[in-house]
Subunit: 388 residues, 2 copies
Amino acid sequence: MSVTAAAGFRAAGVRAGLRAHGDRPDLALVVNDGPSTTAAGVFTRNQVKAAPVLWSQQVLREQSLRAVVLNSGGANACTGPDGFADTHHTAERTAEVLGCGAIEVAVCSTGLIGERLPIDSLLAGVDDAAAALGAGPEAGTRAATAVLTTDTVDKQARHGAADGSWTVGGFAKGAGMMAPSLATMLVVVTTDAVLDAGVADRALRAATAVTFDRLDIDGSTSTNDTVLLLASGASGVTPGEAEFTESLRTVCADLARGLQADAEGVTKRIAVTVTGADSDADALLGARAVVRDSLVKTALFGSDPNWGRIAASVGASEARVDPASLSVTVNGVLLCAAAAAVGDRSKADLSGPEITVEVDLGLGAGTATVLTTDLSHAYVEENSAYST
Amino acid sequence: MSVTAAAGFRAAGVRAGLRAHGDRPDLALVVNDGPSTTAAGVFTRNQVKAAPVLWSQQVLREQSLRAVVLNSGGANACTGPDGFADTHHTAERTAEVLGCGAIEVAVCSTGLIGERLPIDSLLAGVDDAAAALGAGPEAGTRAATAVLTTDTVDKQARHGAADGSWTVGGFAKGAGMMAPSLATMLVVVTTDAVLDAGVADRALRAATAVTFDRLDIDGSTSTNDTVLLLASGASGVTPGEAEFTESLRTVCADLARGLQADAEGVTKRIAVTVTGADSDADALLGARAVVRDSLVKTALFGSDPNWGRIAASVGASEARVDPASLSVTVNGVLLCAAAAAVGDRSKADLSGPEITVEVDLGLGAGTATVLTTDLSHAYVEENSAYST
């Protein structure tokens, strides 16, 4: 399954020695053997962009990719011109061993910000990865595993045409510093469908806008976020744009749920839906405010249906709110109507791992859902000891 | 000292039985005996406003206050028309026992959102507080203590004319759900200076804009934030507006530092200064983004000078950032220049309770400082168990 599910792709995951601890693989390579090399990408909106993001943005202007090389063990962000040169050398070495141009090779990095990567180990790892390339599911899984940092499990997904004529598959990583800024993690999705560059770009933007862009773990937008779509055309089948976009959305949604379930310190998987807003954009502003509120997230960690904090959070957002028509429902139990208590809050049982929060603004037809997780002791522990 | 430091004021703090646990006082009364009753107020920008905020905003249109009654044990927010009636009855009872009009009585409440207050206990407490009014420092301290919720100490401050001819004093409460929305807590400041309503209003807005409005504990904006200034004119002295504003700013800054030092779960007092921004407004956007970033706050809890998270946070803000001119200094040690590492991060010793973060955007002359605290296990513990 995963990134090698579609015909025309090979992958590898090897240990290059970039991570100080453990023996997990830390370098992944995904290669598109064609016949087509159509590609599209979306990147972080952070103004401080990592070197691999700056490089890959340039590469994607050609709307074509032969390969993606990804590493954990270091973000190569805030590393100056030397860090950019490291990325460039990585793409050049990959191009050399694959027999293509460096401009056909995207680079993704993840890990600590501000440290140079050990470039000799990295380049040796590229050689090893090229030698280890395979088309089977094990190769895809090794690649999906090599990009993990504080993630505890690999995230893979696949979908495709109802008649099996083409396939979409991919992997994702990301557990912290996740907030929606186009994309919020490293994701590679492949397909053997025949796509032109315009379809690939539109489908990727449409699919990420309602999946990765609706996942907010901690409100922090990474310097490295990248989502790439590579299309080999190896199936020989050209799907309808709507059908392909829906399949791509399904894969991205699967991967986003996988990221949510493995987020740093997660004990609750939370979906916040705002309805009745003046517009979908307003609903999204309200939902984002709720999922970023530390008081809401700590209350839900404590299995406490503290709807007052939810009402305060949406009231402080930029969405238009009228208390007279504001209601809050938690795990299906209406707790607040017209911004006042109704019913018995103890009936909302939050002891399980899934929590749904529904805020109805009662103003219009706008709606949006954002996924998040709780703010737990484990989140604090993990992030107070990460770089030391 | 405190709210009774200035001539013309009496205060009381009594136990009305509004708080379920403990034996701390929970109802405070501050009375202005004149001869003047000039007043000004600033209130939360949250669209979901507590009943006492809606009431006090109406009252302050008259720019005059004879008394303020404050309670802990319940925010009286999201309580509907019945909750508003409770606030109105509280003001009426206070006016009755003081012999003034209800329109001269502001009301402030703090505590859990969404629960009605026990109105009979509250009204009986008003009677008790009126009987207990005193002009000495002990009375001021009892009032300052009665408004505390998760606060562990009372916060009081005083300042005044160099020649002692007039005085400014006050108290503040607030430990969580604090983010700058004009004011972010309950604060009562009194003065015996002679002020007209215009001066009182301008001075209060100017002083709060650079003190309480620059304190952000958890990014959550309360439904109840209120800052009130009452001027008795009892000194008979009319200060210059600039001199009075500076004295008021000093008192507000003292109180804001007291709130920071007693914030929920605090182990580090953090000041984030952004310089070199396009404008002061841009600097403020950048500083607010850094103090609201969970990854920055958890790193500082861990005494980790993780400047990469700081750079990422300001880069994701709405302030204009150019990585080529971005530098980060932590506790006086330059760690990042041109968005790349310089020097030895281990030289930035964050083991103490005070941390200064300086971000120079290198673009212009805009500057702003915002105070915050770290995100600790104690913050999570306190806020995951608050209402249950």
